[in-house]
């Protein structure tokens, strides 16, 4: 176990505009971090910074001991898988091909799929409930199906840590819950995940740690129930979040 991802006093500016300011946080092995906050708060930029896709103007980022923005991309990809908020594929690949793209960092030469690659792709597609879509064209899927396919691509990468920007957007409630259960299982088995989400209820039920980002700063961090009930959350969303307990003991969160 140990610290896998670390941000120290990180500022990020995009187009001359400060998007993140003085972010200090860390992600440990086995941790499922959920990032919440209002639109435009800087959540996606925070995840992109962890993935090495946005460079800090100040401070340091370390993922598995390396600076992800300058490390060998192939080595980074074996440790970190990133799912962006928007995913557009320019050509009509079939689903199986899209998922197999996740094996890039583990292949050499022509990269024709080996038995190991195919097994990883099958496992990822089964986990994301898209195995029956394997031979369909990606551009002919519904939004929710496409979202599950690219989650399968990220899983197929076989990375130790998943960075997922709104993975449940467009998913029906059953599949959305299934995604969080899957992440929880993966983290319990020793992986780690950082998930941006607007589904506060799923974040409460499955997250181990919650980061509240507002105005480009990390304004609260801790157990999801504590963060959601905090004054900072009320101020960030201009809304009270009611955290309660169902008769079976399950926690839930709804806007009050």
């Amino acid at each position: 176990m140990g610290v896998w991802l670390q941000l120290s006093e990180v500022d990020v500016a995009l187009g001359g505009r400060a998007v993140l300011r003085a972010i200090t946080a860390q992600v440990d092995a086995g941790e499922l971090v959920v990032i919440v906050g209002p639109n435009g708060a800087g959540k996606s930029t925070l995840v992109r910074t962890l993935a090495g896709l946005a460079e800090p103007s100040r401070g340091t980022v370390r993922t598995f001991g390396h600076d992800p923005a300058h490390a060998d991309r192939r080595a980074v990809a074996r440790d970190l898988a990133y799912l962006p908020q928007q995913y557009e594929l320019a050509f009509p690949f079939i689903v199986e091909e899209v998922v197999l793209l996740g094996r890039y960092a583990r292949q050499r030469g022509l990269g024709l799929a080996t038995d190991e690659d195919l097994a990883a792709a099958r496992a990822a597609m089964t986990a994301c409930d898209v195995a029956d879509l394997a031979q369909r064209r990606f551009d002919e899927l519904s939004g929710g199906e496409a979202r599950r396919v690219i989650l399968a691509q990220a899983l197929c990468q076989g990375a130790r840590c998943l960075l997922l920007d709104e993975p449940t957007t467009g998913l029906d409630p059953v599949h959305a819950r299934h995604v969080f259960e899957l992440l929880r299982t993966q983290c319990d088995a020793g992986s780690a995940a950082v998930v941006v989400t607007h589904d506060l209820d799923l974040a409460l039920r499955h997250g181990k740690t919650m980061w509240l980002v507002a105005g480009g700063t990390l304004v609260a961090r801790g157990a999801p129930a504590d963060v959601l009930a905090s004054e900072e959350t009320k101020r960030a969303f201009s809304l009270d979040i009611h955290v309660g307990t169902l008769p079976d003991g399950t926690r839930f969160a709804v806007p009050a």
């Binding site: 991309r73 990809a77 050509f91 009509p92 091909e97 990269g111 024709l112 369909r136 064209r137």
Partner: protein, 344 residues
């Protein structure tokens, strides 16, 4: 057969790749053997298509032109395929990026100042090559943002440079005498009329090397189809891959234009057609595009030198006349599947 060839519902396997390449090689080789045997004879019965035997002196005369067609067609088609993949843009080809216009401007300038009188036959080809590379550097300089070459700014810079170069070419023609203008127009239509074997031999080396290197970027182009962020997170060194693809594609276009003038449509229609036939995987699509482009240009050039014989048509005019309607046919067929590149 259709499921195998269309690529729909089929991922790329070693066997499928081998069959695609073998089919391309056989078709290309067969046409390359037949093409120099075909010509038009003018006799008492008027003009008629004539097949000569392998030992005919006409074969030796036509052979450089056949080789040039294969090289230029393969180079233009592969560069179009790579540029479409890199820029994620179905309209990307050597013309969109201004490379053709830049090399045309340099060639027109070379004719205007009489570079041929100084450097001989090489003058115009050399100028076209310098023009292509110069345009590439200018587009890259204009489009560059930090360490990146964003596709949208590359296309914008390419279109801007292309318009400027076309306007400058017109101005130069306007101030030139009649002989020079007809020479310029003939060159700008694209033709393999005066290809010599020694020129083809010199062009074959850079084109061959660049094609092999470009094919090696098939996996990177597949990943880049999902955008640079996803490609980087999958493990692709995006800046390096984009720079290499851009440089190799431009080199191919530069040498191809130096050899045959600005021959259009090959870089656009061949990759599109093959993508519909064998699927979008660049590991198969790039090599298939090389052979597909070579075959198409060889067919067009053979038509160019036979349909109105003894006169020759400009090869570029034949590719445009045949390519345009064929491209429309492909577009209509694709539209019936609801989308060409994504959701309609």
């Amino acid at each position: 057969m259709s499921g195998f060839l269309t690529g729909s519902g089929t991922r790329l396997t070693g066997r499928r790749l081998a069959i695609v390449i073998a089919a391309c090689v056989v078709a290309c080789a067969a046409l390359a053997v037949i093409a120099p045997l075909v010509g038009v004879a003018t006799g008492r019965g008027g003009r008629a298509l004539e097949f000569v035997s392998f030992d005919s002196p006409l074969v030796a005369v036509r052979w450089p032109r056949v080789l040039a067609s294969l090289l230029v067609g393969g180079a233009l088609s592969a560069s179009g395929c790579a540029l479409q993949g890199w820029l994620r843009n179905p309209l990307a080809d050597p013309f969109t990026l201004g490379i053709s216009s830049g090399s045309s401007l340099a060639a027109v300038l070379a004719i205007r100042i009489g570079l041929e009188r100084v450097l001989g036959d090489w003058g115009i080809g050399l100028a076209a090559l310098v023009g292509a590379v110069g345009t590439l550097l200018m587009v890259a300089r204009l489009a560059r943002i930090g360490r990146h070459l964003p596709p949208a700014t590359v296309v914008l810079a390419g279109v801007t440079i292309s318009m400027f170069c076309s306007a400058a070419s017109v101005l130069i023609q306007y101030t030139s005498d009649f002989t020079d203008v007809s020479h310029m127009l003939a060159w700008m239509m694209g033709s393999l009329d005066s290809t010599r074997l020694v020129t083809v031999e010199y062009a074959a080396v850079p084109i061959g090397i660049a094609l092999v290197l470009l094919v090696a970027y098939g996996r990177e182009l597949n990943a880049l189809a999902a955008g640079p962020d996803v490609a980087a997170s999958l493990g692709v060194a995006v800046g390096r891959a984009q720079g290499a693809v851009f440089a190799l594609a431009s080199l191919l276009v530069g040498v191809a234009i130096a050899l045959g003038g600005p021959i259009g449509f090959i870089g656009l229609i061949v990759p599109h057609t093959l993508r519909a036939l064998i699927g979008p995987d660049h590991r198969a699509l790039l090599p298939a595009s090389i052979f597909g482009g070579a075959i198409l240009l060889l067919v067009c050039d053979t038509l160019a030198r036979t349909v109105i014989a003894p006169a020759h048509l400009p090869t570029g005019a034949v590719t445009a006349v045949l390519g345009g309607p064929f491209f429309v046919f492909i577009l209509v067929r694709q539209k019936q599947r609801a989308s060409l590149w994504g959701r309609a």
